[in-house]
Symmetry: C2
């Protein structure tokens, strides 16, 4: 199956192709910088409005759909993603230069995410049903009150550049918003429009085959900010999911907050993912920590929002440093996702007034970059706010000569990040226990003896963290809890049994977890 032959360059408005307009753009191949066909046509203002209107019209149908119906839809989408795996991988490889095995893994992650949410809505307890029965004997009589989570309405999703499949058109934001019963409009990332179009068609076909309204999903193209702004400003939109830069995320937050009716924005904006290497572990297994750290900060050419970018340690032990420097020096070079990322990375490396103690090779004519190990010490780091920021790409910064109290001070001075990692022995951890209580106020995930890259898609995962890591530290964009972002509680007072949603009827036909008069009950 050839991917290119199929591509049209047109938006998908509820399954219908958009028009060809004046504005167009194309993707570029990262290893040589050549432009890729076809050209993609930016959606017109009329098309944005049309996509939102049909989404708003579809919203009550989705809200009334059963968990079982949405399960069928999400599974059809997952099957469609798997069936399109070859085309998705080939096109994504062209548009991102990410290795095929990694992209194949992303396809599996994407269909697994869709299936996870299918399971969540099939099981049904996610609505957090609460029932307080009436007491007619009380003065005044106590009414019957029952509440559950209900969908918000049309959700705008902005795909990420660094996960062209799993955090993009058919990714976690789309899956969780649909699972909760909301229509979705995706603004495709301009760096991988072809991959986006292929994924968009998969979703559209599943929607058609399952009999959901066409307005359930639309896909809009644009290389600038016009379409995204129009989407977030549209009065009928109800929430926004975004993965990308801090600048882009904050712009959407400000736009959403300034609406006549403000709406929630869930923006995942990046993180420097501090790592704290404790003394015993550094002495006992310096080389293996160096190997793990190197693998983590160069994974995906360092283009992970969980890339470990700040590494605090006390005495710089020779085996650790030697190993890390040598691994970095031997790195073969990377092609980054876009010329903008490559430029920002190169500039960021140069601007940091720190020692660059190891540098990998550089090759290729496209968006090329080399791995970089930079080093400073705590005294210098503490007075250099610029060093605290994320640098997106294959580099990390060691902050040596950070003693115990300074580690606590460094942790307290952190802004919000997605993750924080502690590498240590159990004895180390007892001595540094305070670190956990500080770090849990700064991040969404505290990791012990692991590396932050590799975000499990599970029920307990929190891929979030306080601002500026995300717009809203009360949420996660990965894992089954992501569905909670796109729902709100509604309660029904004294409604007759046959008018209640199934989740709230006395006999619990959905067989879900419920809080019954204050006691949690499993069926």
């Amino acid at each position: 199956m050839s991917a290119d032959a199929e591509l049209t360059g047109l938006s998908l408005i509820g399954g219908q192709p958009g028009d060809r307009h004046d504005e167009s753009f194309r993707a570029y191949h990262p290893t040589d910088g050549r432009g890729l066909d076809p050209f993609y046509f930016s959606a017109s203002d009329f098309e944005v409005d049309e996509a939102v209107k049909i989404a708003a019209a579809a919203a009550p149908v989705l809200a009334a759909s059963s968990g079982a119906e949405r399960t069928v839809l999400l599974r059809a989408m997952a099957d469609g993603v798997d069936a399109a795996a070859d085309a998705l991988v080939e096109r994504a490889h062209l548009e991102t230069a990410l290795p095929r095995p990694r992209l194949t893994g992303e396809v599996a992650r994407t269909s697994n995410q869709l299936r996870l949410f299918a399971t969540v809505v099939a099981e049904g307890s996610w609505v957090m049903a609460r029932i307080d029965t009436a007491d007619s004997g009380r003065t005044p009589p106590k009414p019957d009150i029952r509440s559950m989570l209900r969908p918000l309405g049309p959700v705008a999703v902005f795909g990420a550049s660094n996960f062209p499949i799993a955090f993009s058109v058919a990714g976690g934001d789309t899956a969780s918003a649909l699972a909760a019963g909301n229509p979705v409009i995706v603004k495709a990332h301009p760096a991988h429009p072809g991959t986006s179009e292929l994924a968009g068609r998969v979703l559209t076909r599943a929607i058609e085959s399952c009999g959901f309204p066409a307005g359930t999903f639309s896909l809009l193209f644009d290389a600038g900010t016009r379409v995204g702004s129009a989407l977030v400003r549209h009065p009928l939109m109800r929430a926004v999911g975004f993965t990308g830069s801090f600048k882009g995320g904050r712009a959407l937050m400000d736009l959403a907050a300034s609406r006549a009716q403000p709406i929630p924005v869930y923006a995942e904006m990046g993180s420097a993912n501090p790592v704290f290497i404790l003394p015993r572990a550094l002495r006992e297994r310096g080389e293996s920590l160096a190997a793990g750290l190197h693998a983590s900060f160069t994974l995906g050419a360092g283009q992970f929002c969980t890339k470990p970018g700040l590494v605090f340690l006390d005495t710089p032990e020779a085996p650790f440093l030697a190993k890390l420097r040598s691994l970095t020096a031997n790195d073969p070079g990377f092609a980054l996702l876009s010329s903008a990322i490559a430029k920002t990375f190169g500039k960021g490396l140069q601007e940091r007034s720190v020692l660059q103690t190891a540098e990998g090779q550089r090759q290729g004519a496209g968006f090329a970059a080399h791995a970089a190990l930079q080093e400073t010490d705590y005294a210098a780091f503490a007075v250099s706010p610029a060093l605290h920021q994320e640098l997106f790409g294959p580099s990390t910064l060691l902050i040596t000569n950070t003693n115990r109290e300074q580690m606590f001070a460094a942790a307290r001075a952190l802004e919000g990040h997605l993750t924080a990692t502690i590498l240590g022995t159990e004895e180390d951890l007892r001595e540094y226990a305070e670190l956990i209580s500080i770090l849990e106020t700064k991040v969404g995930r505290v990791i012990f003896n692991g590396f932050p890259t590799g975000v499990e898609v599970t029920h307990a995962m929190v891929h979030g963290g306080p601002y500026p890591a995300t717009s809203d530290g009360r949420s996660t964009s990965v894992g089954s809890q992501a569905i909670l972002r796109f729902a709100r509680p509604v309660c029904y007072q004294n409604l007759p049994q046959d008018a209640l949603p199934a989740e709230l009827k006395d006999d619990n036909p959905r067989k879900i977890l419920r809080l019954w008069n204050g006691a949690w009950q499993t069926p």
Copy 2:
């Protein structure tokens, strides 16, 4: 016990009295408009900063406190509120002119709320623990991941004028924020500073006696917006709870959204609480519906955020109308809470170009008002946006000649409200089933055959609703779910058992509900 003798007019900064500054104000007695002693001194900018700093210092201690410890604190606060009942009722009666029995009920509601949250944190399941155990056999090995809700940090609470005890200093926002483990700083409502000071002292004494840090609670006075703005702008604040006007709530939302680090605002801003009277019920029990509606819209002089302000019905049946007009005409007159509310209510009644078909008496020299029944028809209502707004005070607006399709259209055209009420027979409800699915997208609570005033403090209650009823339709400010506003999920990856919070240890020592590898388990 005399309340006045005790009052100092000073803020309470972690239990310490604030200073006397240039700015001061006093409360007024609503029935005669006379000023009440003592004068209250606005907190200085320095005092605001001090209150926030000690709150931030107390935050880690509160976050580390156990549910059992916070249970003791909340129960001590509840006992203190009950012990101070006489003083609270007397002073609140002076400052608000609300009847003593109503205020006595508010005291009970306040201590019951504190005890409800004590029970919630004693039981402990509110943290929504999720555990996904490791699988070392997988490639790559699957880590152990465990998540639960953790507190946000210092919370600012703005008390409401209309519930001087239950939605004020010791009210639901304070109780739920403390229960979740957050320090609280209350900006007292200037209409009842004496009641606020009494309640603030009760909370302070409980904090001292339970050994919590002084920064756990502060109370700040100010008649203007300076102190509130400084509080919401302060970089160390983490969330805001507010009950009051739309104008005030939106100003806080905008302020919080424009911070360098935006923070969540939970503002409950008001609602017109539409009521739909369906045809059979109107014919069968018009008089009793009229009596119920009249009692609801005049309760507390109509100064409830759940006052039914819009009533849709088809043919205006004589028994219903006659009864409602006669009850309204016989109303004895009311003293409203403040001169501002009285002025706005009087102006609002005059500005509405509708028929005023019944008017109660008016008495007293203070902030006096009469009950008012106003009537229009659907055709006129549909083209008069001003009529859709809340009018705070003892009035309601009947919208007659609204047929079935027009009821659906009216429901679809609603902005966000706290509640919507359907009065009908079960046969009516089947014919108008679509009304429920429309209304649940517009409100937090859908009521059948009841009246919206009277908000139960239970587990299932949702006292919220889409903007502009509240700032954030994903939340409730009443009932045990209110605690969820002031917490965020954090996950721990591969942490050793003895470093994990009790809620997440393998053997479930807290005996709470947990999602264990995807299955909800009760202990």
